[in-house]
Structures are given as structure tokens and as C-alpha cells.
Amino acid sequence: METTVANQPYQVNEKGYYGHFGGAFIPEMLYPNVENLRDNYLTIIQSPEFQKEYNDLLRDYVGRPTPLYRAKRLSEKYGTNIFLKREDLCHTGAHKINNTIGQILLAQRLGKKRIVAETGAGQHGVATATVCALMDLECIVYMGALDIERQAPNVARMKMLGAEVRAATCGSKTLKDATNEAMRHWINNPEDTHYIIGSVVGPHPYPDMVARFQAIISEEIKWQLQEHTGKENPDYVVACVGGGSNAAGAFYHYLDRPSVKLVAVEAAGMGVNSGHSAATTALGKPGVLHGSRTILMQTDDGQVVEPFSISAGLDYPGIGPQHAHLFASGRGTFLSATDEEAVQAAFELTKLEGIIPALESAHALAALGRLGAGPNDTVVVNLSGRGDKDMATYMKHLD
């Protein structure tokens, strides 16, 4: 995990901003909680005692380091050198647990008795319920009513892990609405509850804190790629972006290495201009969502637009403020993949490498043909999660 106080152009500044984006746009009711976090998170996570517990759990419980796998047949197909960072092999099946392990240890040190979280695909909910079981803390997970339907296996897992799953029935009944409900819950329970946000979104310090917990991904990529190829830097790092936590972790140690192209892939749903899309940077404008100044999909009147994606984890109308900054500054390249392209990419990976990816991660794979990477280039794709939870969707395409 990254613990140095960064003072680089793409990292958060002392006021909680990434360029023009970030900050803490929260009602006064949340101010004391967020201030408490802001004043304490760095001291807590930098303490040797925290570091040891966090790193031990990542190794012995999560199963880190996750492999960096040279995907030979996929590389042949695209005429370049592709490595897959296997976050799908983490305990619970996605990168989300890197963050929840960190935050549960933090919550304990802040003396919190209860955890609240939001979830889209259910991966963050499962990862949160898991660490709550591990640490014996009460766990409430808000999930959009629509997502409860389309991610049934993860709902069952959360319940078996002892979490209470509450349906968010307002708005689009997806991730943004679950996030609203989790924030309301936190407003109503300011003293005993910690809110474990599942991505690099929300008011400062959440985006920075979550990115630090996910930074382990690129920390490992550096030495693993060195072992494979003799150099730390790939030419491309590719990751899907819902809120952006797996991308933030995969980019983290490469932000200040300009030779490394950082490629973020958003969900285009049925097509960027179909009216059923979640391609935030293509469709959005600067504004405020869930406590930070960022880029979000909205009407001319400033109402948040309901996004659409086949992948519940990418079905979000915003992106984290750091990604907004990477986009606005040109440091990041933002592409998108449609539902159909993602499903195709998932089948392709399965056929060529025997790995069934999560639908979210399949969006990153779908961009491989568009990078312009050649035979001398090295491409790292962050395979953020595995496809077990998406089998119902994949089955529909089996013929």
C-alpha cells in the first residue's frame, strides 16, 4: 500500500483536490465524520503496526501477490505482448477486497462498531461483508433493487456472510441510488458507523484513501513485469472504469512516468449515443456528484442522468475525481466498449486463455484491438475480477 505523502501533479493536493476536481461537497451533517477521517487516515495507515496487519492479511487472506500472467494466445491474436494482472484471483473474486481490508482496519482504529457500504455488481458488497465477518462487525449493504435482481449470487453470498442487504428503490435502482442510501444511513448514524465506499469516489479523503489501498496492484506489476521482461514500465496499462478504483490502483505507480500510456475503458452500454450508456467522459460535464467535483452525466438542468450498462459495476454516472483530472489534463486516454463488445471480449479470453472474466473487466479487454500496440509493445490489462457472478448473462450468449 502507498503511504508516502505524494506531491505530484496527478495526486491529491493538501486541500483534497486533483487539479480542479475533488474536494468534499458534503452537507454539514457529514462534516465531522469526513473531517475525522481526513485528519486521521494518513497517520493510521502509515503506522508500522497497521502496515503489518494490512500486508499480512493481503498475503495470507486475500492471496497476494496476484500473478502477472503472460497471455500468449491473446498476445498472438493482437500482435503485441499482453500481460494480465490477475485480480480475479483475489479472495472473493475481485480487486475490491484490497480496499475493504484497508478500510476495516481503519474503522477498527477509529472505534466504529458498524459498517455501511453501497454495491453495484455486489463485488464490493461481498468484499465488505467478508471483512465484517472476519472482524466481527455489523454490516449493512445498500444495493439497487435492479442490481439485486441481476446479481443474485452475490446477494446470497452477502447474506451468508451475515450482512443485511437493503434495497435502494429510488431513482434508477442501481449503484448511484445505493450510494445515496448509504450516505443517508451515515448521516443518520454519524457516531458509531464507518462508511466503506467501494471506489475512488466520494468526498476527500475517500478517493485518495481508496487509491492508496488499491495501489498494491501497480506496486506488484512493477516488480513482476521486471521479472518477466527486465523492465518495470509497460507501454500501456489498461483498466475498466466504473468509479475507477481498479484503474486507480493499476495506474498509481505509473502516473508520473509519461512513457506509460494509461488507458481507461468506460462502459458504452448500447452505444455512446444510444441514450443507454455509462460512458461518463464522453457524455458528461464537470459538476458535483456524491461529494466530489468530478465529471458526471447530467442534463442541462444539472440533474444526474441514469446510466446504462450490461455490467452492474460500471453502471455509474460519474468517475472518481482523479480520473476526471487524468481525462481533463490528457494524462489518461479514455475509451469505451459497448455491452456487445464486452461480451465478445469475455468469450474471446475464455476461449484463448481459459479465464472467464467479470463483465466489468471484459470492457478493458474489449479495447485491446484499439490501442495501436505493436509487436514491441508491452500491454498490462488489469483483470479486475472473475466472471462467476456474470454467468447468467453469459449463458444467454451461449449458442
Binding site: 474536494g23 452537507p27 454539514e28 443517508r184 448514524n189 454519524p190 459538476g287 458535483v288 444539472g302 444526474v304
Partner: protein, 267 residues
């Protein structure tokens, strides 16, 4: 002088008891009801009115106000339409009028254009709970000042004394005292804990008057709040009245009168 400041000055000079500030959502129950509800509130004895700008993601609001926001948006409400509806409210409307909402729609309208429109229509103040104090001070305050628009800040039972003092120092008009740690529409009433918190605020001798809101729903809660402050704010309870109203003017009058003085409730 700003109508809000004038109102509180007058209250102090005349020893008038608790002011009643009523919140309603613009464009609710029907798109064209905004001015009608505002007028009925003034005629029924509301001392200030807070008009909510509906938003798709009102995180500080409970179910009742969320419902009114959704309905208003369905009715086609926008910030632009709201300013059109309020365009000719003065001089018939004499009470101070505040707009309350979330910052994103205001940002999309443009802070400067928004403040200018407020000044033109006769809006006196804004309550934007998710606008951070430092952003207000660094970026927007000069614009608010230029157009004479007051920004009303919130304090809660969890707000530290130092921060309350800071808020008091930069506030004008009044301070919005949130009664308990909750989103709007909680049913807790006024508990002993709250009374201790209100007393603490009184003892601080702040320069700004305070209005207490969240959980105020009837004469009992209103008068309890008034014991500790310059007045009270009613939101969700009034939205419920609007949602169930058969005759808007009559039902508004009955409710407001019942809150201010129960004896005339049936008059």
C-alpha cells in the same frame, strides 16, 4: 437591507415570538403550484419561505422530500422554469424567500447567473447544504455579496464549537440549526438531548439568530423549538400536507394556523 436581515431585526425590536419558516418543493404537487403555494403560505402567516429546487439525488433528504423532488422533476421543473415562475412574485410577496437545493443544478446554471436571477426576482438567500464553506469563501462569496444574496449555513449536534464560531462569523441572516443527526423527515420530535444542544448554542451568544429545523411537524415541536431560538423550520410535515391536499389554499391555511396557534386551527 436584505429582507431576511430586516425580518430578524424587526423581531428583535418588537419582541415578536417564534418565526415560522416553511419549506416546500418547487413544482409540487403540480408544476404550476409554486407561486400558488408561496402565496398561500404568506397569507396563512408563514414568516419566511424556503423553496426547494428539486434534484435527482437529494442525499440529505428523507423519503418525503425525495418523493416531492421526484414528482416535481416528473412535472418538468427546472431551475430556469422556477425563475420564470417567480419572476413577478414581488411586490405581492413580501416575506423573505430563500431557495434551497443541491449545488450541482446551481453550478450548471452558473453561480453568477444564478445570483443575478435571484436578485432580479427578489430571492433573498440560498441554502445549499453541499456547498463547502471553503469553496464558498474562496470562490463564490464575492458574487453572493455583489448581488446581495445571503448564504445560510447549517450546524448540527456534531458540529464542533470552533466550527460553530467560524460559521457564525461568516454568516448573515440566520443559522440553520439541524436538530438531530438525520436526514430530513425524521420522526424523533424534540428530545432532551436536543434541548441540551440548543441550550449550549444559546450559551454561546452567537451574533446570528438561529432557526431550528428537522423534525418540526406541529404546534408542540414548533413551540418547543421557539423556546430555544428565533423560530423553527417545517419541511417534510408540510410536504405531506401538500401531497394530501384537496383544497390547497384551505389546507395550507389550516395547517399553518395549527402550527402557530392550535386554538385557531379549526377557524
Amino acid at each position: 437591507m436584505n429582507r431576511i436581515t430586516t425580518l430578524f431585526k424587526k423581531q428583535q425590536q418588537e419582541g415578536q415570538s417564534g418565526l415560522l419558516n416553511v419549506y416546500f418543493t418547487a413544482g409540487f404537487p403540480e408544476a404550476n403550484d409554486t407561486l400558488r403555494v408561496l402565496t398561500a403560505l404568506q397569507n396563512s402567516g408563514a414568516d419566511l419561505v424556503e423553496i426547494g429546487m428539486p434534484y435527482s439525488d437529494p442525499v440529505a433528504d428523507g423519503e418525503t422530500i425525495q418523493m416531492s423532488n421526484d414528482k416535481a422533476l416528473e412535472n418538468g421543473m427546472t431551475v430556469k422554469l422556477l425563475f420564470e415562475q417567480l419572476e413577478n412574485m414581488r411586490p405581492a410577496i413580501t416575506v423573505p424567500v430563500l431557495l434551497m437545493g443541491y449545488i450541482n443544478p446551481v453550478l450548471q446554471f452558473g453561480i453568477e447567473d444564478f445570483c443575478k436571477k435571484c436578485a432580479e426576482t427578489g430571492v433573498d438567500g440560498l441554502i445549499l447544504p453541499d456547498m463547502p464553506m471553503d469553496v464558498f469563501l474562496d470562490e463564490y462569496k464575492p458574487i453572493f455579496d455583489q448581488y446581495g444574496i445571503l448564504n445560510i449555513f447549517l450546524v448540527t449536534p456534531q458540529t464542533t464549537e470552533a466550527r460553530i464560531r467560524q460559521i457564525d462569523a461568516i454568516s448573515e441572516g440566520f443559522i440553520y440549526t439541524v436538530s438531530s443527526a438525520s436526514v430530513t423527515g425524521s420522526q424523533t420530535g424534540v428530545s432532551e438531548n436536543m434541548e441540551a444542544y440548543f441550550e449550549k448554542l444559546n450559551a454561546m451568544e452567537l451574533k446570528n439568530p438561529r432557526l431550528i429545523g428537522f423534525g418540526i411537524k406541529d404546534h408542540a415541536t414548533y413551540s418547543k423549538a421557539c423556546e430555544y431560538s428565533a423560530g423553527a423550520i417545517i419541511g417534510s410535515a408540510f410536504i405531506r400536507v401538500l401531497a394530501e391536499a384537496n383544497d390547497l389554499e384551505k389546507d395550507i391555511a389550516t395547517f399553518i394556523k395549527s402550527v402557530k396557534a392550535p386554538s385557531v386551527a379549526t377557524a
